[in-house]
């Protein structure tokens, strides 16, 4: 079974946002996610999201529970993107 119907759609270009009529608590943070696609690296993702490849460490730090090696991320993996 390798029909094209089995291929999962790519949602890596989804852009999200939020706002509230309620105040944010002091030090509140908004966390978004990013789904890794083939050819991605943390620095590429950082460049795509922050415009600065050097901020890959922030993504790595936020995902240490699932990313043990910053050079090893796999397509489909969902990463938390801090402060995006």
């Amino acid at each position: 079974m390798s029909s094209s119907d089995d291929k999962e759609p790519d949602f890596s270009d989804v852009v999200s946002g939020s706002s509230s009529s309620a105040a944010a608590p002091a030090g509140a943070a908004v966390t978004r996610t990013y789904t890794v696609v083939s050819g991605d690296s943390l620095s590429k993702i950082a460049k795509k999201i922050y415009g600065d490849a050097n901020r890959w460490k922030e993504i790595f730090e936020a995902n240490k529970d699932t990313v043990k090696n910053p050079d090893l991320i796999r397509p489909g993996q969902v990463l938390k993107i801090p402060g995006a």
């Binding site: 949602f11 989804v14 852009v15 999200s16 939020s18 509230s20 009529s21 908004v30 969902v78």
Partner: protein, 154 residues
């Protein structure tokens, strides 16, 4: 002389009688109103009241164009209405696609409401949403409080 005495006596009796008639008891003082205790508003515990989907919101964050079916180029909004006050509540929405619940996007936002509030979450996909069924799951402080299904059609 006797006549004068009698006249004076009658006058005196008249004055006393008049005084007795005129003297009425002072009206009873108005009863002091018993103060009615002002009901102290019971604090409303923070909770989600509704989740609405649509393709547009107003300045108050509420959905202005409700929908459960969207076009591929639509921005999809989920407006989460809450009531009650809390120093901090963590709102989270999780958007998924298809029967396998493929993750589309996930976002969390901390809020500190003092009463009724609306928090909106939205997603867009510049290349267009794949046609099919989607679901948005809303959590408050780690507990799923609502799920909504919607579809994207051409």
């Amino acid at each position: 002389m006797r006549r004068h005495t009698l006249s004076a006596l009658l006058t005196l009796l008249a004055v006393v009688a008049f005084g007795a008639c005129a003297k009425k008891e002072a009206p009873a003082p108005e009863p002091t109103p018993v103060p009615v205790p002002t009901p102290v508003p019971t604090p409303v515990a923070f909770h989600v009241t509704s989740v609405d989907l649509g393709s547009a919101i107003g300045p108050d964050k509420k959905i202005t164009a409700a929908a459960s079916q969207f076009a591929p180029k639509d921005t999809i909004y989920a407006a989460v209405s809450t009531d009650g006050a809390t120093p901090k509540a963590t709102m989270k929405v999780r958007w998924t696609f298809g029967p396998k619940s493929q993750l589309v996007n996930e976002e969390t936002r901390d809020i500190s409401p003092t009463g009724p509030a609306v928090t909106e979450f939205h997603i867009t996909k510049p290349s267009g949403w794949p046609v099919g069924g989607y679901k948005v799951e809303v959590s408050a402080d780690g507990t799923v409080v609502a799920t909504k299904d919607f579809a994207v059609k051409k």
